[in-house]
């Protein structure tokens, strides 16, 4: 007998098969990429290996007779407030394997979610609400630096701007798609995101995995990313989009780089990232040419120079303790937009300790950065893009009222295409065909389905945002930006309200 593997004794989930409904079609066996459903050829029956179930619910959803229910495993440990099953099982896993705990998505702990402690205003009697179905309502947002003042001159009886405006990116809706690399997610999802971004008048972000040849046509809706690994990064790529995002950090794992394991580097990924098939794609924790704000300026201008000042340069950081001071430095370094990714920001793979405990909530970070930049008189020189835990159109509205220009959504877009938040993206076996590049699994999510779902989601959110703006008596998203008067706190401390610059409900 070998060493016992304690973790395998206590499965997280329980596959309940309703035998009166099961027709033994074996669809579940085919659907489960983790091998939790097993066909016993001898006994002509189905078996379950509960230890392999990740709780993705694919089998349950696909079972033609609805004969499967995935439950939390009913087996219980004796109650203990401190030593919950989560900690016990994590220790078993590490004692078994001696490794770093790995997980996916964003912070799973119930830290206070400030969005849920903020309520919005609406007009009653003293000023009328606006109905977006009958009256124009503008969500158009311009990303990039704005001049301090506009100088206007009269030429032949017509007014025009004296100086040309610097290049700006026009968004029809203040929701963009966050960086998710081809490699972390499937090409089909990328294709869906790109097409949806084009039809919605917004942008998607390639992440650091390079740009697949089939996606160059969506250039005017593309942000390309320059991360520390510099994968697939060449002149054509830099010039392919409308903006280049320097990724310094990410909310799910501030302070570390990324490891795309060799198993995920398939033929197509290898071509796009330009690394050999099967080799690890390692992104160092820092950019080794950036050890200071001055160095960051060095890279920002290297990119601008290389692309002849036609592209905006964004700098993405994780929201950490001194985020406001760091953001100020980033703006002074010349970034056209600062992307702040909060504690709740998602990922395809991150050490669990990083995902759950490092970084600060995005709501506080947006407000702190916006305030700092205003105090320093440089707010107009950049746009603030907020991300990490935006779950609904109300979250978008609140983020903008706290001072963001626009938001990125990542997890929400993936849930729109079927993700059930099983948090096992790092295995590359996603049975929903989202976070995988297995040629068989990706067929489960065709690009046109991904497109339709993502398009629908943002279209619905956009309408909700218009309704909420209308209710507040505002007819343009511009008037909401940093407009904290439209927010009130419920159940926050004085200090929290100071940071958010909001009054308490009733005030």
């Amino acid at each position: 007998m070998g060493t016992p593997q304690f973790a395998s004794f206590y499965p997280d989930f329980y596959i309940e098969r309703l035998w009166e409904k099961c027709i033994k079609c074996r669809r579940c066996v085919k659907e489960c990429s983790y091998g939790a459903h097993i066909w016993d050829e001898k006994k002509k029956t189905l078996l379950e290996d509960h230890t392999k179930c990740v709780g993705c619910h694919r089998c349950e959803a696909m079972c033609p007779t609805k004969a499967i229910i995935i439950r939390r495993h009913p087996s219980e440990f004796r109650e203990h407030a401190l030593w919950t099953p989560w900690f016990i099982k994590n220790i078993y896993k590490q004692a078994d394997q001696g490794g770093v705990l790995l997980t996916s998505t964003g912070c799973a702990l119930p830290f206070k979610n400030y969005f849920d402690h903020l309520v919005l205003d609406a007009c009653q009697v003293t000023n009328p609400p606006i109905d977006p179905l009958r009256e124009p309502m503008e969500l158009r947002t311009y990303i990039g630096p704005k001049p301090e003042a506009l100088e206007i001159e009269e030429v032949n009886g017509k007014f025009r701007l004296k100086k040309k405006l610097p290049p700006l990116i026009k968004l029809e809706v203040p929701i963009m798609f966050a960086a998710m690399s081809y490699g972390a997610i499937s090409l089909h999802v990328h294709q869906g995101l790109a097409r949806a971004a084009r039809d919605l008048g917004t942008l998607y972000n390639t992440g650091e995995g390079g740009l697949h040849a089939s996606l160059y046509e969506y250039g005017s809706n593309t942000i390309v990313q320059c991360a520390s690994g510099r994968f697939g990064l060449h002149v054509d790529y830099l010039k392919a989009g409308v903006a280049i995002e320097i990724k310094i950090g990410q909310g799910a794992k501030p302070g570390i780089g990324g490891h795309l394991p060799g198993e995920k580097v398939t033929e197509e990924i290898s071509k796009t990232r330009m690394i050999p098939v099967g080799s690890d794609a390692l992104s160092p924790a820092p950019h080794h040419d950036i050890y200071s704000i001055e160095d960051l300026r060095g890279l920002i201008y290297a990119l601008k120079e290389a692309t002849e000042y036609k592209k905006l340069v964004f700098v993405k950081i994780a929201a950490v303790h001194n985020v406001a001071a760091i953001a100020s430095g980033i703006v002074r370094a010349g970034a056209d937009a600062v992307v702040i990714d909060g504690l709740k920001g998602g990922t395809g793979a991150a050490p669990t300790m990083f995902r759950d405990y490092i970084g600060i909530p995005i709501e506080l970070a947006i407000s702190a950065v916006d305030k700092r930049l205003r105090e320093e008189g440089i707010r107009h020189r950049t746009s603030i893009i907020a991300s990490g835990g935006i779950r609904s159109s109300a979250d978008v509205v609140k983020a903008i009222a706290l001072g963001a220009d626009a938001v990125y959504i990542g997890t929400a877009a993936l849930i729109a295409v079927g993700c059930t938040m099983c948090q096992r993206c790092y295995t590359g076996k996603c049975p929903w065909g989202i976070a995988t590049n297995n040629p068989e699994l990706i067929k489960r999510l065709p690009p046109e389905v991904a497109y339709e779902k993502i398009y629908n989601l943002v279209k619905a959110w956009a309408h909700e945002i218009k309704e909420m703006l209308g209710a507040m008596g505002i007819n343009s998203i511009e008037s909401l930006k940093g407009n904290r008067d439209k927010l009130r706190a419920v159940g926050l401390t004085k200090e929290e309200m100071e940071i958010l610059e909001v009054k308490h409900a009733g005030e």
């Binding site: 394997q97 490794g99 510099r230 080794h288 040419d289 290297a302 290389a306």
Partner: protein, 247 residues
């Protein structure tokens, strides 16, 4: 006839604009004089051109470039060949830190010493194999995170006789590519898990091919360089962090 420009009173972005305009018009050879800390020269330029630079180019010479052959008569500041794609940079002097960061193709030949973090995360793919040859000595972290390509360190034309050939953490985290060093390196200077190896016949062929070109660039005697034995440093695994995680 190469086009000669005195850039001493021009801003770098003006210089690049002028270069791009001339390249567009079909100009293929340039001589730049009065180079004095100009940043980003030739950054992102995608053309088969030749240039001679007199003076000291600033940060990120040839960053992201694809094709140009740049010969510098002087030293270069940090970041030469940053994420360079194709082409060549020849420096008749010393180079600063982070030469050839994430370089993906082309060649960088440095006559003298280089600073810290040179050749970090170089990578190779199919027939694109970047090469950095350093005639002098190198600072810490040479070839860190190296994923592909070739670094050759000679240690011959150094102005620092008291320094070791290469600094600490040589090749730390490398998971591809090869580092050749003329002479010996203390094992304690190597990155975790790495060992020096003797060259085989294939290595000697590669080395000779690249060093011949290097000698041609600087008018050096190849036999002089080959008088001393080389060692090579290669990754001990292509998956240095394959066993880092618990699933």
């Amino acid at each position: 006839m190469p086009l000669e420009l005195d850039i001493s009173h021009l801003h770098y972005s003006q210089v690049n604009k002028i270069l791009r305009d001339y390249i567009e018009k079909g100009e293929r050879e340039f001589i730049l004089r009065g180079v004095n800390g100009h940043r980003y020269l030739f950054a992102g330029i995608s053309a088969e051109i030749k240039a001679q630079l007199y003076g000291t180019p600033g940060l990120d010479l040839g960053a992201f470039m694809r094709g140009p052959e740049i010969r510098v008569f002087g030293n270069v500041q940090d970041g030469a060949g940053n994420t360079m794609d194709e082409g060549k940079i020849v420096v008749h002097g010393m180079a600063g830190d982070v030469v050839g960061y994430a370089m993906r193709g082309g060649k960088i030949h440095i006559y003298g010493d280089v600073g810290y973090r040179v050749g970090i995360h170089m990578k190779a793919y199919m027939d694109k194999v970047p090469v950095i040859i350093i005639g002098g000595k190198a600072g810490d972290f040479l070839g860190e995170y190296m994923a592909g390509g070739i670094i050759i360190l000679l240690g011959m034309h150094s102005i620092y006789p008291e320094r070791p050939l290469a600094g600490l953490f040589l090749g730390t985290g490398m998971h591809g590519g090869t580092i050749y060093v003329r002479g010996k390196v203390k094992e304690s200077y190597l990155g975790l898990g790495l060992k020096p190896y003797a060259l085989d016949g294939e290595d000697e062929k590669i080395l000779e091919k690249h060093l011949k070109e290097y000698c041609d660039d600087f008018g050096l005697d190849l036999s002089e360089i080959l008088k001393e034995d080389f060692i090579k440093i290669i990754p001990y695994t292509h998956r240095p962090y394959g066993k880092l995680y618990a699933y």
